[in-house]
Symmetry: C2
Subunit: 227 residues, 2 copies
């Protein structure tokens, strides 16, 4: 007799993984690459995306999913660049959820023109803890760390820095006015995530943003290459 | 027949409230006032406390409870000021808890010399969402918002700004180098929390810190007055 054993999803993270895989299947079907973009509040995720969209992504057609506890200010800013954008608000759950999970992303998929984009950037809720715990079906994870936050953050929030293949170090235009040691930060990043890529940028002046744009374009072409 | 009806704690927040009340009872017994200090990662909680302890709190004897996902760097910094300090790490729970709750604080009470202090400052995990949802038995809540984070934060994280009676606006020494409108931030604070106190400070230069210190001393004297 043929016997099949099914492992029942045991907890919230198992359920999340199952739904993330379903999202992944939908993204694959439409040849969409997905970047999960994370950071602390105010590190400059939206400003960096504005800078990138201002430059353009070449042949890569992008869309954005905005995650916020409340409001749609970031989505409004992104919409100015004629990029399809959907806002998810997490404030219906438990006083406001502090992260996006796979099911929240799934609930938004129907509103996104997946067939017409190559790259979906998911701007997560500003938080250095829980967003790193919930995969949403992404190809790559990037995080932004601002030089105003101090060099110790990789050691204090190791899971976030470990979960990302790209660490963007933002607000470098402020370095002359800070007691901040970039080498110390990068040493701490390397300590928790050996070999992680990093890029120094100023989303405000545009310095270094082209290199991050090129990385995004590279991710955008991953699924195209295999589709 | 006398009947007693006991409402069973229904969920995690109910249980948290019950434990917060137990903490409150212990603080009251020893005449300890408690401040729950919250902010985004890197807003400057520890640097502000260093600045305050450098000035001294007059007759108010302080202790500190440090909440971090991992590490004890902040506790080590505070210990230099000969202030009793206990570190709580939240990384045993679910990939790292993003906030302190009443039970975590309760687990640390035995390590704190409550009988010998007047004021306990609890430095929460850096996060603008969940810490505001969990009372821990505190008298007052303060949050630090840095001018590098943008003026929109009260609108994006309203519960945090609403939960606090004192909003400290930090890093004002950087204002000349930023496109940041302090009035716009304060307008947004007033929108979500009418009448909230605020104090502009630079923990780095010390500007404004004395006024925050005075507020802390005032809280420290609340329980003394009633004890």
């Amino acid at each position: 007799m043929h016997r099949t054993k099914v492992k029942v999803a045991e907890d919230a993270l198992d359920a999340n993984t199952t739904i993330a895989q379903a999202n992944r299947g939908d993204f694959d079907r439409d040849g969409v690459s997905v970047v999960n973009l994370m950071s602390a509040p105010g590190a400059g995720k939206t400003t960096l995306l504005e800078s990138v969209f201002g430059m353009g992504l070449g042949d890569v057609r992008a869309g954005v999913l905005e995650g916020d506890v409340q409001g749609s200010m970031d989505a409004d800013r992104i919409a100015h660049f004629h990029v399809p954008v959907t806002q998810i608000n997490t404030d219906s759950g438990f006083g406001g959820e502090c992260h996006l999970d796979a099911n929240m992303v799934r609930s938004a998929l129907g509103t996104l023109p997946l067939a017409d984009i190559d790259l979906l950037v998911i701007e997560n809720v500003g938080n250095l803890v829980c967003p790193a715990e919930f995969r949403v079906g992404e190809d790559a994870r990037a995080m932004i760390c601002s030089v105003t936050e101090g060099e110790d953050k990789p050691l204090k929030y190791p899971l976030m820095f470990r979960a990302c293949e790209m660490v963007v170090v933002n607000k470098i235009d402020l370095l002359p006015h800070l007691d901040f040691d970039v080498d110390k930060l990068l040493y701490n990043v390397e300590t928790v995530n050996p070999g992680a890529k990093h890029q120094l940028v100023s989303a405000r002046t545009g310095e270094g943003v082209e290199a991050f744009r090129d990385w995004l374009v590279g991710v955008g072409e991953r699924e195209k290459a295999t589709a």
